[in-house]
């Protein structure tokens, strides 16, 4: 079982290393979207600080979305998806490995970039820590839910369709993620929001791989 999972994981990470520009594109997109806000809203520090959590989170959602349609589409084109469906292990496990690879490639860089952008918008040290914790719990949820969307829109030509499908499902993560930082800024404890975010992660971890696997079987049929 671990061999299969390792095989999928190593393959996707190796492919990501070979096509570094894809990772860079998503991270640069994240940086640029956040940087546009001071230019659009004006350089008033109090305003920027207030909108900072929302801006960073919305940019993170969009950046994740950007990399989602590659998740299964490339495998469908070259036939490796068929081979995964025929692997002697439950498909959900293989899908989970792919989601993990996607998070390492597309989600983790966002978590690491976020403090810099938060600093730029005027967040304090403790708020940055909460922002990072919230993103660390939240971005895997984005990858997990996104995988269902990517599987359901497989073979359909529509980067927009996946956005319409997935973005509404991202709302709870967005609310909890920004809520945690805002609580910290208001001098309250962010713990409740972070706990709920953790619960959401566990729920998605158990349900999303099965749902995505079922969708894949239907779409490949």
């Amino acid at each position: 079982m671990w061999t299969t999972i390792r095989g999928v994981l190593i393959r996707d990470l190796l492919l990501a290393v070979r096509r570094r520009q894809d990772i860079l594109t998503a991270v640069l997109f994240f940086v640029i979207v956040v940087t546009l806000f001071p230019l659009g809203v004006g350089p008033e520090p109090a305003v920027l600080r207030d909108i900072a959590p929302g801006v960073v989170w919305v940019a993170a959602l969009l950046a994740t979305l950007l990399s989602l349609d590659r998740l299964f589409a490339a495998d469908l084109r070259d036939g490796t998806l068929e081979q995964m469906l025929l692997a002697p292990q439950p498909l959900a496990l293989l899908v989970l490995a792919k989601i993990l690879a996607h998070w390492i490639v597309a989600g983790l860089p966002l978590v690491l970039m976020a403090p810099l952008l938060g600093l730029q918008l005027g967040l304090g040290w403790e708020e940055l820590q909460v922002l990072m914790a919230a993103l660390l719990l939240g971005t895997p949820v984005l990858s997990l839910i996104g995988a269902i969307g990517a599987a359901l829109t497989l073979g359909l030509r529509g980067g927009v369709l996946i956005a319409l499908l997935v973005l509404p499902l991202y709302v709870p993560t967005l609310i909890l993620g920004t809520g945690a930082v805002e609580n910290q800024m208001a001098g309250l404890s962010p713990e409740a929001h972070l706990s709920l975010l953790g619960a959401l992660l566990l729920l998605a971890l158990f349900l999303a791989p099965w749902a995505a696997a079922a969708a894949l079987r239907i779409m490949v049929d």
């Binding site: 061999t3 095989g7 190593i10 068929e82 081979q83 025929l86 692997a87």
Partner: protein
């Protein structure tokens, strides 16, 4: 005698078109089944049903008497499918492709075995080039190397000879012979003449 793979009364519908119905056959150890028929008669659809990739409209596919849809992983351990697409990544080298594919298949191949398989398929010298730079025929050979590495009993091959030159077709024939002699089973579609002396059956889709 125990029947290894049995198709019972299969029917396939694609869109509004009924491609075939009432297709029944069985394949025992050491036998080849060639699926013939003109373009669009449903050969690939039949192979995909036999692998469990798509569900038949009617009928069932049984492995040692049990429906493959209930066996799932147990059946997957016996099966190797090579479809129209090669299932190799263009950005990885032949060696990486084969090593990772064997890991995903649950039976990691050693470096020596991969080297031997590549040499056997006439790919010596192409081991460390990204597959993007290989020709169609060479990519097909990389895909076919998996036959030598996976150690599965049932091979389902969709047009295995596509893009291969005469030498590679010869190698493939030998490989098939050895597999059949060892008690393996092969189901394939091809428009080429297959000279397999072993017990050969045909299913014609019309």
């Amino acid at each position: 005698m125990k029947v290894a793979l049995e198709a019972r009364d299969l029917a396939c519908v694609r869109g509004d078109r009924r491609l075939f119905s009432g297709v029944s056959f069985c394949v025992d150890a050491g036998e080849v089944l060639q699926v013939t028929g003109r373009n669009g008669s449903g050969k690939t659809s039949l192979l995909r049903i036999l692998c469990g990739l798509s569900a038949p409209e009617e009928g069932a596919v049984c492995w040692n008497g049990a429906d493959i849809r209930t066996l799932r992983e147990e059946f997957a351990r016996e099966l190797l499918y090579i479809g129209h697409q090669n299932g190799i990544k263009d950005d990885l080298t032949a060696v990486e492709n084969l090593r990772l594919a064997s890991m995903v298949g649950g039976r990691p191949a050693t470096d020596d075995a991969i080297d031997a398989a590549l040499r056997g398929m006439g790919l010596a010298g192409c081991e460390d080039i990204p597959c993007r730079f290989l020709s169609q025929g060479q990519k097909r050979r990389v895909a076919l190397c998996r036959l030598l590495l996976a150690g599965r009993r049932l091979w389902v091959l969709d047009e295995p000879y596509t893009a291969l030159d005469a030498a590679a077709i010869g190698t493939m024939q030998e490989t098939l012979h050895r597999h059949l002699d060892a008690g393996g089973m092969v189901i394939l579609t091809t428009h080429q003449e297959v000279a397999l002396s072993a017990r050969m059956r045909q299913v014609h889709l019309s």
